[in-house]
């Protein structure tokens, strides 16, 4: 297995020969390298079951979770390369500085609930929240952020929130009890106009969330609607959609 070793200033792939057992995943191999050959090999992990999103890496050039990549999916003896996700600054080995994502999280306008029912309870129907629960499956592995051209190739981190935060906003917007309008935020601060719908984010999502089709495209359409004078008039007429926050 060829593993990237190094820091922000320099680095290269180093080859390790490791015995594998039945059912091993790439993360197991990394752990075996740590335990037997390179105790200081840096990597992140927590759950080892695809639930925490810590062990993101680029395996043979593809962004994936190391804990969910089984060794028996590779041809026997074929070289496997493991590299850090590329869109974020490298700290060391397989660990990158993902603080950009945590900074973006702070900018999203939070939920503002309408008052509860007269008995003090909130009621929501399962069918209304099914589509939100899809977005809530996000484990924040940031693989969608890693492959997004706007972040990865154009490095427009300042003006662009990225797919993870578009589905976060989508979930908030679809919340049956929410009263806030985030259209301005999505356009101005989150920069959704920069997304050119290549669907790379959807392809790499380990949770199978339809980021583009169910999150980004409807949001873009709504954004377009807001500037469409006919739709605007119709809405005014019918009184849909709350006023901006």
């Amino acid at each position: 297995m060829r593993v990237f070793r190094g820091d922000a200033s320099r680095g290269s792939f180093r080859e390790y020969r490791v015995e594998t057992d039945q059912g091993m995943v790439v993360l197991d191999v990394i752990h075996r390298i740590q335990a037997t050959q390179a105790s200081d090999l840096a990597c992140r992990w927590n759950c080892k079951a695809g639930k925490c999103g810590s062990c993101s890496a680029e395996i043979n050039g593809k962004p994936r979770l190391m804990c969910m990549t089984r060794m028996n999916t590779f041809a026997e003896g074929a070289p496997i390369t493991v590299a850090p996700i590329r869109a974020f600054p490298l700290i060391r080995d397989l660990v990158t500085d993902v603080s950009y994502n945590y900074e973006k999280a702070k900018t999203v306008p939070p939920l503002r609930l309408k008052p509860p029912d007269p008995d003090g309870r909130y009621r929501m129907m399962q069918e209304d929240i099914d589509r939100i629960q899809e977005f809530h499956k996000c484990i924040e592995c940031f693989l969608c952020q890693d492959v997004c051209h706007v972040i990865r190739d154009h490095d427009l981190k300042r003006q662009f929130a990225g797919p993870r935060f578009f589905i976060k906003v989508a979930a908030l917007d679809m919340h049956p009890l929410d009263t806030r309008n985030r259209t301005e935020f999505v356009a101005r601060e989150a920069g959704i106009g920069l997304c050119n719908v290549t669907k790379c984010c959807t392809e790499v999502c380990p949770e199978g969330i339809h980021i583009t089709d169910n999150g980004i495209i409807p949001m873009k359409e709504r954004r377009a609607d807001d500037y469409d004078p006919i739709v605007w008039l119709l809405r005014k007429f019918r009184g849909q959609r709350p006023e901006p926050a």
């Binding site: 057992d21 740590q34 335990a35 200081d40 840096a42 927590n46 759950c47 079951a49 639930k51 996000c138």
Partner: protein, 601 residues
């Protein structure tokens, strides 16, 4: 490499160490009280063990069963813990859990719904009624993300990838915490008028475990060092259903929700063996045949609950016995069958994450095939001794909540009671820590010489002359604890374990690691070893002391539950550098609560 004053220093009113459910909830409360609050995470924010919780949050919301109430939840919790729980904690927990769940909903959590739009509740082991608020089988993710969002909204200072190693005590009261940033290796001193420990458990001391690398008992060890008491350390829960195959996924959790939703345990002969293992204590409320157990899923009023949903200690012991008797599955577990019991789309909807996990990791489609499962180390019931109302430890200004605290769950925790525990006592910890900080009039002092000594100690693994590998020592400890301090214990084996732990402590003093201080997991593992070894020793000593079988603690040489032991905690504390233990009486339960424990039909 020598210790220079290369450290960051920050000052807060409240420092919360640990950012799982309890820690974030504590920080939210402290911040809401106006305290300058820091939230310290060992990993990235939102990756704590809470994210892996699957089944749900136990709270008597009465949405599914009007008959449920805090009194029934209290009774179930006390009986589940074999009456060794702190009754006051169990009472507060049952009373306050519904409010904490509803509050999560207001902060954006999207629980599954009943047909009339309220929060749906599911069945779990040891709970008399369907009581767990849940989101499919990824409730922990929903809970931690909701709390995380709330913490971000409130603008709490979150210190990510930061590991605390020592607590600072000045004149008998807490003064701060000292540790390092994982990303740079640079030291960090957090002065705090109050400190909340919410660091979780120590399951990483066992080989087959559901716990992540973080579960190394840091909080328990720091508290012990600072002079606090630990209680109930002998009680370590083995969750009955962890994955057993393939080897690399051994221990990964399979939620109790599988059984709550109709799954049954079977042995090699296809027998539903749980009916043979119903203990006297639960006989009156447990179905003793398949027909009644199956009817119970549909009609809970007129049938007793299935034996598959006995509390975890009973189920884990039963599975262990089946395997020992040679009736296990091919890979050393038993079978858990939901595929023949429920339609495929029901399984995928109720248990999406289990479906995904087995499919991806074991190549098993649980809508078509049975699962192979076996016990896995899951939870430490013991921990820092706290005052039930305030969560303050025996050290002034030091609070503890969540798995790091002891008392709430007695000798065995019911599933679903952990997430509610985190919320109820996380909030109480944050509140009382903030109040404590407000009352504090003095100046926070830190002894420079002491800080430098700690820093030197933490850097020792870089410069020692030894050549021990920290990963190897950790693996040997896990092996020893698994074999000798597991589900079934004897004094001979426990004493053997103590000798092994002693030898490992000596080896740990000779650990030497390479590389620098920047993100060096070898170094981090070497430091974590200290707390793992300390907790392992505490558990083993307490297990020797408790000469009875109760809850998760089963002594082959003392197989009976002893009424006298039912009135006592085993308390562990550190004196002159050695760990000592005493037996101390439980507080007397008021008569009106005692009345709630009586058998109900």
């Amino acid at each position: 490499m020598i210790a220079r004053p290369d450290r960051d220093e920050r000052e807060y009113d409240v420092v919360v160490v640990g950012a799982g459910g309890a820690g974030i909830r504590a920080a939210i409360e402290a911040k809401a009280q106006g305290a300058r609050t820091a939230l310290v995470c060992k990993s990235l924010f939102g990756k704590a063990h809470t994210v892996m919780a699957e089944g749900g949050i136990a709270a008597a919301l009465r949405n599914v069963w009007k008959e449920d109430g805090w009194d029934v939840h209290f009774r179930d919790t006390m009986r589940g813990g074999k009456l060794l729980n702190s009754w006051r904690m169990a009472q507060l927990h049952a009373l306050e859990a519904p409010d904490r769940v509803l509050e999560l909903e207001e902060w954006g959590a999207m629980f599954d719904r009943t047909p009339d739009g309220l929060i749906l509740q599911r069945d779990f082991g040891g709970h008399r009624y369907a009581r767990l608020a849940h989101v499919g089988d990824r409730t922990g993710l929903e809970m931690i993300r909701t709390l995380q969002n709330r913490a971000v909204e409130l603008g709490i200072d979150v210190l990510m990838e930061c590991t605390m190693q020592r607590l600072l005590v000045d004149d008998g009261r807490i003064a701060g915490a000292f540790g390092y940033w994982r990303q740079t290796g640079r030291f960090v001193l957090l002065r705090g008028k109050a400190i909340v420990l919410a660091t979780g458990g120590a399951g990483k001391a066992w080989k087959v475990t559901s716990n992540s690398w973080e579960y190394t008992g840091d909080g328990m060890t720091m508290a012990l060092d600072a002079g606090a008491d630990l209680i109930d350390m002998e009680f370590v829960q083995f969750h009955p259903t962890g994955m057993v195959w393939p080897p690399s996924v051994r221990g990964i959790l399979v939620t109790e929700g599988v059984r709550g939703d109709g799954g049954t345990l079977k042995n090699r002969d296809g027998e539903r063996f749980m009916f043979r293992y119903i203990p006297e204590f639960f006989r009156a409320e447990t179905a003793d045949n398949e027909a009644e157990a199956d009817r119970w899923y549909e009609d809970k009023k007129n049938n007793r609950r299935t034996a598959d949903l006995l509390p975890r200690d009973e189920v884990a012991r039963a599975i262990n016995s089946e395997i020992k008797a040679g009736r296990g599955s091919p890979h050393g577990g038993v079978f858990l069958d939901i595929c023949t019991r429920r339609p495929a789309d029901y399984i995928r909807r109720r248990l999406p994450s289990m479906y995904h996990q087995f499919k991806e990791l074991a190549g098993v489609d649980i809508t078509k095939e049975v699962m192979e499962v076996g016990p896995t180390c899951h939870y430490v019931m013991g921990g820092v001794r706290v005052d039930a109302d305030t969560t303050q430890s025996t050290v002034s200004g030091l609070f503890a909540a969540g798995e790091v605290a002891g008392g709430m769950h007695g000798s065995n925790r019911l599933g679903g009671n952990s997430l509610s525990d985190l919320l109820v006592f996380g909030r109480r910890a944050g509140l009382h820590a903030a109040l404590h900080a407000k009352d504090f009039g003095g100046r926070l002092a830190a002894d420079r010489a002491q800080l430098e000594a700690i820093a030197r100690e933490l850097l020792e693994p870089f410069t020692r002359s030894g050549n021990e590998n920290p990963y190897a020592i950790q693996a040997d400890l896990q092996e020893a604890m698994q074999d000798l301090v597991g589900i079934i214990r004897t004094e001979t084996e426990l004493r053997h374990a103590l000798r092994k732990i002693e030898a490992l402590k000596d080896r740990a003093k000779k650990v030497r690691i390479g590389g620098g201080r920047t993100y060096n997991p070898g170094w981090h593992t070497a430091l974590d070893l200290q707390s793992l070894l300390t907790v392992a020793e505490c558990v083993t000593l307490a297990a020797i002391e408790r000469t009875e079988s109760r809850g998760s603690h089963t002594r082959d040489d003392y197989p009976k539950t002893d009424a006298e032991w039912g009135k006592a905690n085993v308390v562990v504390r550190q004196k002159n550098g050695t760990i000592q233990f005493t037996r101390e009486p439980l507080p007397e339960m008021p008569a009106e609560l005692r009345g709630l424990l009586e058998e109900k039909k």
